[in-house]
Amino acid sequence: MHKIVRTDTLAPSMFLMELEAPKIAEKRKAGQFIILRIDEKGERVPFTISDSDTARGTLTLIYQVVGKTTAQMSALRVGDSILDVVGPLGKPTHIENFGTVCCIGGGTGIAIAYPIAKALGGAGNTVISILGARTKDLLFYEDEVRAISNELLVCTDDGSYGQKGLVTEMLKQLIDRGEKLKMVVAIGPVPMMKFVARMTKEYEIPTIVSLNPIMIDGSGMCGCCRVSVGGATKFVCVDGPEFDAHQVDFELLTKRLATYRDKETESYNRYKHSKEECKIGRG
């Protein structure tokens, strides 16, 4: 059992959970993830480790409520527990001093880009971060990312905060002003990663993306998370989660992510309905 020691609401439907997992906190490196199962009837869901605190023996997870399990997580309070947490899983990000790097986080991807940007900065890189969100309310971790970046660009789709536009436009600005980017790390919704990859390919800037397919075990035994990279089938949980963005088949990833869309909706609706009934009963 892993006790929850802190929860926070970062933005509408965007939450933070800090939970006890001393062994994982000690071993984990940037880019790695865990798989958790809330309770006996729960599913196994992967989450990137956004941060860890070895002194407190804790991990920080940041997640968006998109379905039953994440909704259930957001209803948990400090003192509650998560039944199973396994990790650290996946390969750590390859960190070295490249020179100037650009880390792009879109939506929940900000939480995944953060530890990578932090590690790259720690290795002596000049880190330029780009954060993007649909609208001002959905933006989070701005201060945290600023603290570990040499420069920060923020944009929103609707212009309600920072510059108006998409992360690709921010990246274009950097390239246009002559920034010699040695590497781009792009993490966010699949379309965002796809468009960043398309742009950096044109400018021949090496680009890494962190992929988020459906997973079960996370240790390479089922192939549920398989993707196509450079024409070869790879298992994201053991071969990734990070891959060369210019080699990834994003269409396939999108389609495989939709495999259980109907069932996910069914499960989420059932959960919401049970919560409502519960409230009526209490009222």
């Binding site: 390479g220 035994m221 089922c222 089938t233 059932r270």
Partner: protein, 487 residues
């Protein structure tokens, strides 16, 4: 009773669920012997002076002795006799391919059907479990030595059970959230109820074995970490858990599963109880399972129970070459699985959403025998045809799990990635590290993995008592031992 009378008793059938009923539920198919049936069956055993049946049992059960005890009505003593050498009798009695193990050596089998050793073993184990009075065996005095077991499948559990009885401290590390390996994620409920696996695991925990779940050795800790953390020896039983695909077009379409994924969703995550349990699984109309082993049978029968209208088993050879346990093939046929034999898929066809909607197959004929001794399937030109479907389960085998070897540079592996170990001793290239089961053999059987666990425990015990043991060459294999292993 004289032998002639014994020979006249027919082999007793186990009562089982009717095919049309059971194909719609996940309950265990055979109900097991009643006490009366067990008694009758036990009386068929001739109590041979030199019992050949024991040659066919990799975990060395004293078969005539435990059967005699059942025949005398001493069921408690019978299970204790079995447990002297086998820690998982309820499992073995259910999943061993007895027809090619113990029962294939039974003398009665030469003239009539062999004694149902597996069913009697199962009876004794179930008798004890149902009574709720599980008796613990005596443990040797503590030796102060600590052994780490990596993987809680049949090999690891057997090694653990033997080592704790020898007085060693045993800690099991398991990557998943439940112990049992293939017994919990692979073999379905209708063949091996999960509460039985749990009961056998609880029995081991009761003996004092520590079980660390959710611990991926190679990620959390490496073998070297464990050795420097004070473990005196390690047994690696991480299995063959990496699914193989055929690498044909369309294999990454939605609706195409590895058998491991399909079975893990259903067995470990209980997706058949969705949405009561959170893990989803495909709702299918027409399913094709590719392969001819036990895993293929388990997948096909699971798909039927999940409500598929039609389940096809696509196998490239003929029925005679199928590696599956004969009882499972028989059960699958009875339940309505359609066998498309001498057939091989060549590509999967998807719709615009990336979902599989059809498979293109090719008919095969058998040519000359290959390295495995089985006749090689050869494609028949122009025999291609297309079949509509909405789910594919690829059950063509598994490769070794690479996590431990990839983080232990001085652990020797072969070309396929299997750990190199001497199966006479289970010794690897790395001092203090032993390995057995599928990680060494490639995908084999539960009982062979258990046999390896037993051999490893004996070697580890010898090594812990005298570290010099490691440097001495292994004794020459006896011919009998070889035969047993080949079973």
């Amino acid at each position: 009773m004289d032998p002639k009378e014994r020979m006249k008793i027919p082999r007793q059938k186990m009562p089982e669920q009717k095919p049309d009923v059971r194909a719609k539920n996940f309950n265990e198919v055979p109900f097991g012997y009643t006490e009366e049936l067990a008694l009758k069956e036990a009386n068929r055993c001739l109590q041979c002076k030199k019992p050949s049946c024991m040659k066919g049992c990799p975990v060395e059960i004293n078969i005539p002795s435990f059967i005699k005890l059942i025949a005398e009505g001493h069921h408690w003593e019978a299970i204790r006799k079995i447990k002297e050498t086998n820690s998982l009798p309820a499992v073995c009695g259910r999943v061993c391919p007895q027809e090619s193990q113990c029962e294939s050596y039974c003398i009665v089998g030469k003239k009539a059907e062999p004694v149902a050793i597996g069913r009697l073993e199962r009876f004794a184990a179930d008798y004890e479990r149902r009574s709720g009075k599980v008796v613990k065996p005596g443990l040797a005095p503590p030796t102060g030595k600590r052994v780490a077991i990596v993987g809680s499948g049949p090999a690891g559990l057997t090694a653990a059970g033997d080592l704790i009885r020898m007085g060693h401290k045993v800690v099991i590390f398991e990557a998943l959230h439940k112990a049992g390996g293939v017994l919990v994620y692979g073999i379905p409920e209708f063949r091996l109820p999960k509460e039985i696996v749990q009961a056998e695991v609880d029995f081991l925990a009761d003996l004092g074995i520590e079980i660390h779940l959710n611990t991926v050795v190679g990620k959390a800790d490496t073998l070297d970490d464990l050795l420097s953390d004070g473990f005196d020896a390690i047994f690696v039983g991480t299995g063959a858990g990496a699914p193989l695909f055929m690498n044909i077009p369309g294999e990454n379409l939605s609706g195409v599963y590895s058998a491991n994924e399909y079975l893990t969703r259903s067995n470990l995550m209980k997706a058949y109880l969705f949405p009561d349990y959170d893990t989803p699984i495909a709702t299918s109309r027409i399913v094709a399972v590719v392969g001819g082993g036990n895993v293929a049978m388990d997948s096909a029968r699971t798909a039927l129970r999940l409500g598929a209208e039609q389940v096809h088993l696509i196998y490239r050879r003929s029925k005679e070459e199928m590696p599956a346990r004969s009882e499972e093939v028989h059960h699958a046929e009875e339940e309505g699985v359609i066998f498309d034999l001498l057939t091989n898929p060549i590509r999967y066809i998807g719709d615009d959403k990336g979902r599989v909607v059809a498979v293109e197959c090719q008919k095969m004929e058998l040519g000359e025998p290959d390295q495995s001794g089985r006749r090689r399937p050869v494609p028949i030109k122009g025999s291609e045809y297309t079949m509509e479907l909405d789910t594919v389960i690829v059950a063509i085998g598994n490769g070794p799990n690479p996590l431990v070897p990839s983080t232990t540079p001085d652990l020797e592996v072969n070309r396929k990635g299997n750990i190199t170990a001497d199966l006479q001793t289970c010794k690897t290239s790395k001092r203090g590290v032993f390995a057995g089961g599928d990680i060494v053999r490639g995908a084999a059987t539960v009982i062979l993995a258990m046999g390896d666990g037993k051999v490893a425990a004996r070697s580890i015990d010898a090594y812990l008592k005298d570290p010099g043991w490691w440097d001495r060459p292994a004794p020459e294999p006896t011919p009998e031992k070889e035969e047993k292993k080949a079973g």
